[in-house]
Amino acid sequence: MTAIDQGDLQGNILCGYGFEHALYAFLQVRERAAARGWLRDLLPALTTAEPWGAGRPDSTANLAVSARGLAALGMDREVLAGFPADFLEGMASRARMLSDTGPSAPERWETPLRGEAHVVLMLNARSESALARARDEHLASGALELVYEQPAAALAGAREHFGFRDGFAQPQIADRRAGPWVGSGTPRRFGWKALQPGEFVLGYPDEDGAPPAAPAEPYGRGGTFMVLRKLRQDVALWHRWMREWAGDEREERDALAAKIVGRWQDGRPLSLFPERVHDQPSADELRRTNRFRFRDDPEGLRCPLGAHIRRVNPRDALGGDGRLSSRHRIIRRGMPYGPPADGDRPDDEDRGLVFVSFQASIERQFETIQARWCADGDPFGLGADADFLLADGDPDGKMTIPGDPPRYLHPQPSFVTTRGGGYYFVPGIGALAALAGS
């Protein structure tokens, strides 16, 4: 087994930091020499994937660069042309395929998030004050123009704004030095198979047995691609809608919400827990309960065929054990933004999720999940049904909850709206040094 060079790989990819505060700073290169100087100074402060041991830092710093950013920093045109088309084109230009249309269309995105910034500096910290210190330390010089800042903070109980425990289901990766894992690999007839690291880190063997397509050295090793999306959640609408469809009984509303998501709010999957369990699961229990399959529920009587988690990771639902989904996994490191909502009381606060995923191929991994599995129902025999949790409002949209009789949810409300985003490259430390000209 090839061990990943953790000193060259940036942190928070193979193993999450677990910090509760984050800041995404979107930066533009105005003067190349100054930007490269800033990058050289930043290099020793960047957090790698090396284990912390006992010395957990107060904050971390990581960097991602867009295609325009690589050009602005002076990357050779031919080298840049060796990057994949999805990354070079950027998220907004692929919006139609991603179903970012209507209220989620790029022309309605927040202006600074409409096209990729040159650079995204990602700071994570154990407290707000530590985050502020890190921000001052890395952004005070003004070498790059700060065009947008997106703070994010974990909500109580590691929940997202609709109340679901989030972020604990991650792909298990075959690397002895990475981890520890809270997640699952590919289901087999018996047992589970960890995913090859090349699914997430360039330069290492992937599920096909060879390293994935990658740009020229030194950029082709120790890097990964990052998808960042700002997803606004309409929490008041979510609760109002649940009340309208399931009534005032909390238990009934929770059961309906669980059918849409495929998990109970506490994270327990419907596949293993068709009935609600009232005590909170421990982290260890969640890890164990993440190892479930869909093949024993082919009609979706427990977990609906169109439920969110059955779309984003179909496991063995597509047949062939999990082989048809194993090339389409992503590592998620998103974090909620905005203040928690006060129940279903409407307010004007902007809140949602900063969705962040890491993958070796944006097209094969993130885009397949988003465009083929979430925005369409065909792969699951569901016609044009889209993910009821994520899709934009659609008067023709519906979700079927199988049963006797089945229940049809209709029309599709707009619970989640895309507010902007981009495709970025997260270079290895050696590649960043080359980019900085050091």
């Binding site: 016609g383 519906k398 009789p405 089945p406 229940r407 049809y408 209709h410």
Partner: protein
């Protein structure tokens, strides 16, 4: 049973840009004029810049509910939007004589070696009818899901009886 159609045309010298513009002018895929030809399962134009020929080529391929020659005759006759595309290719006999255009297309047709068909036993019309029926069933199911049995039966008969 549908048939695979493939036509390879040589692009006239210096007409590559005009060809791309003509293809772009065909519009969005959802409103493709090719969809108007009721027999088209799928169709695509591909500009092949590095063909083993003297210059770039245009590949037109389709899967259609007709023999290749009949389908190309239909394309020649009922697809005026494609005239600016054909014009950029060598040997185009010109608009106004669909029979010549059909012959010209057929002369440049190649046998499709292997075709994968999404609906091997259904025509485009049958596929559309099936989709329409599914949409009607879906709408009915949504509309009728809270009806009592007697009302449900009445509604069913009204819709499908």
């Amino acid at each position: 049973m549908s048939t695979g159609v493939a036509v390879l045309l040589s692009v006239r010298p210096d007409r590559l840009t005009a060809l791309r513009e003509a293809l772009a002018a065909l519009g969005e895929p959802e409103h493709s004029p090719l969809a108007r030809l009721g027999q088209t399962h799928m169709a695509r134009f591909v500009v092949v810049e590095e063909a083993i020929r003297d210059g770039p080529c245009l590949l037109f391929s389709a899967e259609a509910d007709a023999q290749a020659s009949s389908y190309l005759a239909l394309v020649a006759e009922r697809l005026p939007e494609a005239e600016p595309v054909w014009e950029q290719c060598r040997g185009y006999p010109g608009a106004g004589d669909p029979a010549s255009v059909a012959r010209w297309l057929a002369e440049h047709a190649m046998p499709a070696g292997f075709s994968v068909r999404p609906y091997p036993r259904s025509t485009v019309t049958e596929v559309r009818e099936a989709l329409d029926l599914r949409a009607r069933l879906r709408d009915f199911a949504i509309r009728a899901q809270d009806l009592e049995p007697a009302a449900l039966q009445r509604a069913w008969r009204e819709e499908f009886g």
